[in-house]
């Protein structure tokens, strides 16, 4: 199995078992990574990838199994041991102190001192040097709060390298990056590999796996189910191993023209705009302009995709449209009705549905049952006098669970007990399983496994065919390209470009997403 003949592998994990209460996250997972390679650890959400890597980096102690790093038995070591041995993990969610500078963040935990005081100058020198040699460009004296997401991630990697990491574990590093930032990251990782460092990349994006990795380990349900050489395999083979069955992989754009009869063109002025937004200005929590004079309309039977790096005003735009955030200027019409000053509930009654971007904070009440979550926002329609009509609440739940294949099919379970994909299906079922005209779909497939993505995309396409207007906001450009009829790029609070799907591609949109290109395309 070892690729490097006589040389011992950098990492060898054998039959790792790790559980959280009744949940077996790893049930005999194994991993072997050779020195100086980029190894992709792939699998669906909940397959146990992150858990396995947290066991390796000493955060969790496995119940059984054996761990070797550079041929040394390190079973059950601590995070401090792992750092000393040069194993470092960069997490999906950044662990930086925003009010401190880059250099201060990097030296945090290993502060350099001179006579009892912090030696900032030396820290900045050392970080600048490390930044130069690794190609992770970031100025050490800047405050982390002022950095872009891509820069913050570089700081995370620098921090790990500063502690002497020779084995670098990256957990879903591209989730928040724009295409050019992803390209830069691949270059940096490639250089590190060429210097002999070992990299484990946790991901479930197959294009990334193909682009950067040398070897692949596939996990499913806590077990290792495959080990592949990237050069000898195909994306569909990997996807099959991940899911355990064949998957409709190509997220190809299916336009109305090809799928059903006469086309509904967005540009035809004869078509009614179901959602019309004019000159919208919204401020963020810090009272800075987050949405800057945005105007657009979505016709019946149209999906408008908003592409862009997260944090460019998408959240504020969606919340303003949903009625969750006050606006400074502009108007919002749904089916020609002015809803600018209506409440969340009144907008819902006017035909607005909303899949919120964060299902755990907004979309679900985790302690509430599936049935209760399926009426959230509609509770005034399920009453008998001042009581909730429990029979109708349960009937509705059974119907929706059945129609949207929520598992397990028990309306009484708390939403917390369901997997991420099934939790998202509750939100989708509630928002799409009722009468609506306009749908705000924010990150509708975030943290959802491949099978559920297929299902959710099919639902969105069906809603388009049924003549609904859909605003799709996603950090996943592939998803935007797969579903939208028109694509707008949001940058710095403005819609900097709007292009029909046929003219759109990552190459066309990328420069707008990073602000490299400005101006308004057709």
């Amino acid at each position: 199995m070892a690729d490097s003949g006589s040389q011992s592998p950098a990492i060898r994990l054998t039959d790792i078992v790790k559980s959280f209460g009744p949940v077996l996250a790893n049930r005999g997972a194994s991993l072997e990574v050779a020195r100086g390679e980029i190894h992709a650890l792939v699998g669906e959400n909940g397959a146990g990838k992150s858990t396995l890597m947290r066991v390796l980096s000493g955060m969790y102690v496995a119940e059984s199994g054996r761990m070797e790093v550079n041929a040394r038995d390190v079973t059950g070591w601590s995070t401090a041991d792992a750092i000393d041995a040069g194993v470092g993990m960069v997490h999906q969610h950044f662990m930086l102190v925003p009010t401190l500078t880059v250099a201060e963040n990097v030296m945090l935990g290993r502060e350099l001192t001179k006579g009892g005081q912090l030696d900032r100058a030396r820290a900045e020198r050392e970080v600048a040097e490390l930044s130069r040699t690794t190609g992770l460009a970031v100025r050490p004296e800047r405050k982390v709060a002022d950095l872009s997401v891509g820069e913050a991630q570089r700081v995370e990697i620098l921090k790990t390298l500063y502690r002497g990491a020779k084995i670098l574990i990256l957990d879903e590093p591209t989730a928040v990056l724009s295409p050019p930032e992803i390209e830069e990251l691949w270059q940096v990782l490639g250089q590190m590999r060429d210097r002999g460092e070992t990299i484990v990349l946790i991901t479930h994006k197959l294009d990334e796996v193909m682009a950067i990795s040398d070897t692949i380990t596939v996990m499913r349900h806590g077990r290792t189910v495959g080990r592949l050489r990237t050069s000898d395999t195909t994306p569909s083979e990997i996807a099959k191993a991940m899911v355990g069955r064949d998957v409709q992989l190509a997220m190809n754009y299916v336009s109305e023209e090809t799928s059903s009869g006469p086309s509904v063109s967005a540009h035809s002025s004869a078509v009614e705009s179901l959602l019309a937004v004019r000159d919208l200005v919204v401020t963020n929590v810090r009272r800075l302009t987050a949405v800057d004079h945005v105007t657009f309309a979505i016709a019946a039977g149209e999906i408008l995709g908003i592409a862009g790096v997260e944090g460019n005003g998408q959240t504020e735009l969606l919340e303003a449209l949903a009625g969750l955030r006050p606006i400074r200027n502009g108007s919002i019409h749904i089916s020609r009705r002015d809803v600018t000053n209506l409440s969340v509930k009144e907008r819902g009654d006017a035909g607005l549905s909303h899949i919120p971007e964060d299902r755990h904070a907004r979309g679900l009440i985790l302690e509430y049952s599936v049935a209760e979550n399926l009426i959230l926002g509609q509770q005034h329609r399920f009453t008998r006098g001042i009581q909730l009509d429990r029979d109708r609440v349960l009937d509705n739940a059974r119907k929706q669970i059945d129609a949207f294949d929520v598992r397990p099919a028990d309306p009484q379970l708390p939403a917390r007990a369901l997997s991420g994909g099934n939790q998202q299906k509750i939100v989708i079922a509630r928002e799409m399983g009722r009468e609506f005209q306009v749908l705000l779909a924010a990150q509708p497939t975030r943290g959802v496994d491949v099978g559920a993505i297929e299902f959710i995309h099919a639902q969105l396409r069906a809603a388009r065919s049924a003549g609904k207007a859909i605003l799709l906001v996603s950090a996943d450009l592939a998803e935007i390209l797969a579903l939208s009829d028109r694509i707008a790029v949001m940058y710095g609070g403005k819609l900097v470009a709007t292009v029909p799907r046929v003219d759109a591609s990552a190459e066309v949109l990328g420069p707008y997403m990073t602000g490299a290109a400005t101006g308004h395309a057709a």
């Binding site: 209460g21 996250a25 935990g109 949903a322 907004r362 985790l366 001042i386 397990p408 009484q412």
Partner: protein
């Protein structure tokens, strides 16, 4: 905090659990009930140690305590009387916590409810039947407590003022005001209480059952039980209760669900204050038939403990009110052998043990499966 610690703390969350079976509901029940049981056991052990340090036998002291409370009609009557007030203040705090609000003001809301009820009682003509006056008294007591509770609610909804701060401060203001009004204007000479109300006084149990003679227990106990049932129904069966609990669990999700969170806040605080206020009837209408300054001193604060031990569930609140009433009355019964301050310590131990055992018991339950 070092970076390593920061990583560890965020790493502590296990991944989202995969589908589980129906035992989830049984688990929820165990997790709700067991911490209280564990806390009482811990309190009993601490109690043993305290008793031993006073050179007494725990068995003797506990027997005395039980004999002095549940062992005779008078003791039982006193327990039921105290439990009645604690049920109201416990429900008040519980409904606040269900809405995500920590009402520390039950103490002054209780007093205000009793005060306003007594004022109304002084104005009512003598000799009106209790059936007619009871609704008037209920409204008066609810209004008195409701206003004192509602003010922090409105301040929170409109200005974001934290309810813990405002309810604590209102305790000082309201209790001082009531003390002043009683002492300066309303007191019967030589006392700190008002004149007796003219009509609508409710009977004590001793009017029907002779052995209860001398105990304060009265029919307001039944009002407390009905209130607990109505509170349960409101929380778990009505649309407003659904919205109130949603706001308490996840205000952002509630807002997303079309719920006006600010409205829920001030309504919940008003309701909370009203529940505490009705508790004032236990003294004014059922026991002494006048308002007396600091008539139930401490019962508002003890309501916080009752709500927490009762896990904010109306049934749990009733049971916890009985437990705390028993400990409180039991302190008088054992006063001859151990100092009565010991029961104050025990009450505090129960509260600390519950606070500590909720996460710990939950962790052990999960590990055991």
């Amino acid at each position: 905090m070092t970076t390593t610690e920061a990583r560890l703390s965020t790493a502590a969350q296990p991944p989202v659990a995969p589908p589980v079976d129906r035992t989830a509901r049984r688990t929820a029940l165990e997790e709700a009930v067991l911490p209280a049981v564990v806390a009482l056991l811990v309190a009993a052990i601490v109690g043993d140690i305290l008793i031993l340090t006073f050179g007494q036998s725990p068995g003797t002291v506990y027997r005395l305590l039980l004999e002095g409370t549940w062992g005779n009609a008078y003791g039982l009557g006193q327990v039921l009387y105290k439990a009645t007030t604690l049920t109201f203040t416990g429900l008040a705090v519980a409904i606040g916590l269900r809405a995500g609000l920590f009402n520390i003001g039950a103490e002054s809301q209780l007093a205000a409810g009793g005060f306003v009820a007594a004022l109304v009682g002084l104005l009512l003509p003598a000799g009106m039947p209790a059936l007619l006056t009871l609704p008037v008294y209920l409204i008066a007591a609810a209004a008195g407590g409701g206003i004192v509770g509602g003010v922090p609610g409105v301040l929170k909804a409109k200005f974001g003022a934290h309810e813990v701060i405002t309810t604590i401060m209102l305790n000082f203001i309201v209790l001082a005001l009531l003390n002043y009004l009683t002492a300066a204007h309303l007191k019967v000479e030589g006392s700190l209480h008002t004149a007796a109300i003219h009509s609508g006084a409710l009977p004590r149990f001793s009017s029907y059952i002779e052995p209860f003679h001398g105990s304060a227990a009265n029919v307001v106990l039944f009002i407390a039980l009905v209130t607990a049932i109505v509170t349960w129904w409101f929380l778990f069966r009505t649309r407003r209760g659904f919205e109130l609990r949603a706001t308490g669990l996840q205000p952002e999700a509630a807002e997303y669900g079309g719920i006006n969170v600010g409205n829920v806040w001030w309504r919940a605080m008003t309701l909370s204050g009203a529940l505490a206020g009705i508790g004032g009837l236990n003294f004014v209408l059922g026991y002494k038939h006048y308002y007396e300054d600091s008539f139930a001193s401490g019962a508002g604060f003890l309501g916080i403990a009752v709500a927490i031990v009762g896990r904010n569930h109306p049934l749990g609140v009733v049971l916890a009110a009985l437990v705390f009433a028993t400990i409180s009355q039991g302190g008088l019964a054992v006063n001859a052998v151990v100092p009565k301050q010991m029961v104050d310590v025990l009450q505090a131990v129960v509260i600390i043990a519950v606070a500590a055992s909720v996460p710990e018991v939950r962790r052990m339950l999960r590990k055991a499966r």
